[in-house]
């Protein structure tokens, strides 16, 4: 059975929508950073945030999103863009949802805990439910009117590709008629502060990316061809070994193919991926170099960028490499129309 990528969506520091992502990648310049105040420090943190939308997506007017956090708004906008005309309960059938996050709803979590430390008796009951990892996917399910299976997966950015494999499996087993796989993150100073401990050069960013998977029935413009095993970083397996094993499971290098890599311009984080993929003969895209370390959203942007390039007919196939922060190396392969 073929697994079709029926649509994609993105929210990133480049803006709301795939077009903004496409233009930023085509431009080739790193997006400007903004300052984020870090309490107790004179010097702000440098981050890349999502700009306000030029036109607010209609879906964000849903009553369930009144108090929703930024991550929910990003996830919803990317998902609705990916679904296109199928973004209605009548059209989407049994639609499975897989939301992948690493930091998750960190803004409300930090805010709520801050309230708890100051006075637990007055901590907001409106904020707490929005701290839960699956709050964004709950809102999304309600907005789309889909009561089908809905998982929130937590892990490092490689988890997004695990989510794609899971969605493909649900389709293959006919558990669902379609499946949205969304990767999303939001920035908070606490997250940016913690990443700064590992490298001062890392620039955290935020947003979401989504792919809409359907069973392929011929004439499919883009297909998910394969997802490698998840190669864990363990006591007995280094990041380099995990990355090598990932590449070995993806199709052989081909100068006509595109590589969407996860490098972000921080040698400490990029070393293993750079070493393993250094002989790639074809074109490369590295969204994180321009958009920043968007964690799960960034892994989704890589896939959305690959989809966009394949839909445009620029390449016959694309491989995506994700060497995660602290869990796994994993890869995926997509093909254009054959």
């Amino acid at each position: 059975m073929n697994i079709a990528i029926a649509g994609g969506g993105a929210v990133s520091p480049a803006g709301w929508g795939i077009q903004a992502l496409r233009e930023a990648l085509a431009g080739g310049d790193a997006l400007p950073t903004t300052d984020l105040a870090r309490p107790g420090w004179d010097r702000p943190l440098r981050v890349r945030t999502v700009p306000a939308p030029v036109t607010k997506p209609a879906a964000l007017g849903h009553p369930r999103l009144r108090r929703a956090s930024a991550i929910t708004r990003y996830a919803v906008a990317a998902a609705v863009e990916a679904l296109g005309a199928d973004a209605t309960p009548e059209r989407c059938g049994r639609l499975g949802l897989i939301l992948c996050v690493m930091s998750g709803c960190v803004q409300y979590s930090r805010r709520f805990y801050d309230e708890v430390l100051k006075d637990p008796a007055s901590a907001s009951p409106l904020v707490f439910p929005e701290t839960v990892f699956n709050a964004p996917s709950s809102h999304l399910a309600t907005l789309l009117g889909t009561p089908a299976i809905n998982y929130t997966l937590v892990g490092d950015p490689g988890t997004y590709l695990q989510g794609l494999a899971l969605g493909a499996d649900w389709l293959r087993r006919k558990r669902v008629d379609g499946c949205l796989v969304v990767g999303a993150e939001e920035i908070d100073w606490a997250t940016a502060d913690s990443f700064g401990m590992f490298s001062r050069r890392v620039i955290l960013s935020e947003g979401a990316g989504a792919l809409y998977l359907r069973r392929g029935d011929g004439g499919v413009p883009v297909e998910l061809r394969s997802v490698s095993d998840s190669h864990l970083f363990l006591q007995g397996q280094t990041r380099l070994e995990a990355t090598r094993r990932t590449r070995a499971q993806l199709p052989a290098a081909d100068s006509r193919h595109l590589l969407c890599e996860g490098a972000q311009g921080v040698p400490r984080f990029d070393a293993e991926e750079t070493a393993v993929w250094q002989d790639w003969p074809g074109a490369r895209l590295a969204p994180k170099r321009l958009l920043g370390e968007g964690l799960m959203a960034a892994a989704a942007w890589q896939c959305v960028a690959a989809l966009d390039a394949l839909q445009a007919g620029q390449y016959p196939a694309a491989s995506v490499s994700v060497v995660g922060c602290n869990q796994q190396a994993i890869g995926a392969h997509f093909s254009g129309s054959r």
């Binding site: 929005e130 695990q162 490698s228």
Partner: protein, 413 residues
């Protein structure tokens, strides 16, 4: 490859349980927990892990974690960094692993459920970041170890596992979703065995969160009681080793029970409140029955989600009444949260093991604190451990965000 699968099974495999480990406030391990449930013990006590003086509720079911951890392959430094949640997970996994009789293997997938991973480390990180912004000592470790994937990798390192790790964070249904997902991986032929379960430790943020919602009981957690006033939080972990039947038989494994079916649905009604008629709960149980090929009339015991909140128990009762119809009048239902509290991401996994205990021992676990049954319950609520013939048990887990999951377990005779 994760996709396409390198192997597939045209005929669905039966999924059996060959190892089970559990730790709750009733104690460490199967024996002490089974004895505690049998005796109708209630394990709540005043909270000692964090300050609760300014909060409405003061009690929780804390686990006594004193004592040494089992010997594992973890490096000394890694063992020192284990937080409370990781220790709970490690202890439950060790029991399941030993019972299953497996050696470290190249490919043992793990599917775990949690709501908050190492939240207490995240809390400590934040407190230090605010109090002494330029002091970094210990912060790197906290930033790493609070993440759920780090706890899962520590478990992999501890026992030498190498398979993919999947962490499901579907609020209070996480543990049941994890077991259900793991059972589907085995049933479909993707893997011969999967280690699965759920874990969560008490944390200040989560306790204060439920307290802020006025969801915590200020008296005593009394599921399905007419005067119930809320839930009680607990902590713990439960881990199961699931295997495909034929390979388990070939190696002579001791089979404890079977995962017969799994249902998972989404309740779209409200972020924190179930549909008043329990529509999604009904659909989840119905889907589990259909997946297992079992008629509702064949279910002989329901371990309910039964949090003790007015809204949950009313909706769940409506769903049980509706699905089981006339059979409900004689269907024993209980909520063991009355003894050990609501274990959030661990709840579904622990309650699956409670069902396994019931099926193996042929007895009904009680709702220990019931005083006056809510007349909305068309079913009898078990109040004392009672011997009963059981072949099928169903367990429910319903979470924030409308994450609903039901599992059906079958006795292995």
């Amino acid at each position: 490859m994760l996709f396409p699968p390198s192997r597939d099974c045209p005929t669905p495999s039966r999924v059996v349980i060959t190892g089970a480990g559990v730790i709750t406030a009733l104690g460490r391990g199967w024996k002490s927990n089974a004895a505690g449930f049998r005796a109708g013990r209630v394990a709540f006590r005043p909270v000692t892990l964090f300050e609760v003086a300014k909060q409405r509720a003061k009690m929780a079911a804390e686990v006594d974690l004193t004592g040494v951890l089992p010997s594992t392959r973890l490096r000394a430094g890694a063992e020192e960094n284990l937080d409370r949640a990781s220790k709970l997970l490690l202890l439950a996994a060790h029991e399941a692993w030993q019972q299953a009789g497996w050696e470290p293997t190249e490919d043992l997938p793990m599917v775990l459920g949690t709501t908050s991973g190492g939240m207490s480390l995240g809390e400590a990180y934040y407190r230090q970041a605010i109090a002494t912004p330029h002091r970094r000592r210990g912060q790197t470790m906290r930033a790493l170890q609070y993440q759920a994937q780090r706890q899962a990798l520590d478990l992999a390192d501890a026992f030498g596992f190498h398979g993919p790790v999947t962490i499901i964070a579907n609020a209070c249904a996480s543990g049941a979703n994890a077991i259900g997902h793991a059972s589907e991986l085995v049933r479909s032929g993707r893997y011969d065995r999967v280690l699965t379960g759920g874990y969560d430790a008490l944390s200040h943020l989560v306790f204060a969160g439920f307290d802020s919602l006025q969801a915590l009981s200020t008296t005593q957690c009394r599921p399905f009681d007419a005067r119930r006033d809320g839930l009680g939080l607990g902590e713990g972990a439960a881990v199961l080793m699931l295997e495909s039947l034929e390979p388990a038989r070939r190696r002579g494994a001791n089979i404890l029970g079977e995962i017969a079916g799994y249902g998972a649905t989404s309740d779209l009604h409200h972020l924190t409140q179930p549909h008043p008629q329990g529509d999604a709960a009904w659909a989840s149980m119905k889907e589990a029955c259909e997946a297992s090929g079992v008629e509702p009339a064949q279910i002989q015991y329901v371990n309910a989600h039964g949090t003790g909140t007015p809204l949950n128990d009313a909706a769940e009762a409506a769903a049980i009444n509706r699905l089981f119809g006339e059979h409900a009048a004689t269907l024993p239902v209980s909520s063991t949260k009355s003894s050990i509290g609501h274990l959030l991401g661990a709840a579904g996994a622990v309650e699956a093991i409670v069902c396994l205990m019931a099926l193996r021992g042929q007895w009904l676990p009680p709702t220990t604190t019931l005083q006056e049954r809510d007349p909305a319950c068309a079913f009898p609520v078990v109040t004392h451990a009672t011997d009963a013939p059981l072949d099928y048990a169903l367990t429910n887990s319903f979470g924030f965000g409308g994450a609903n999951a039901s599992l059906i377990l079958r006795r292995w005779a």
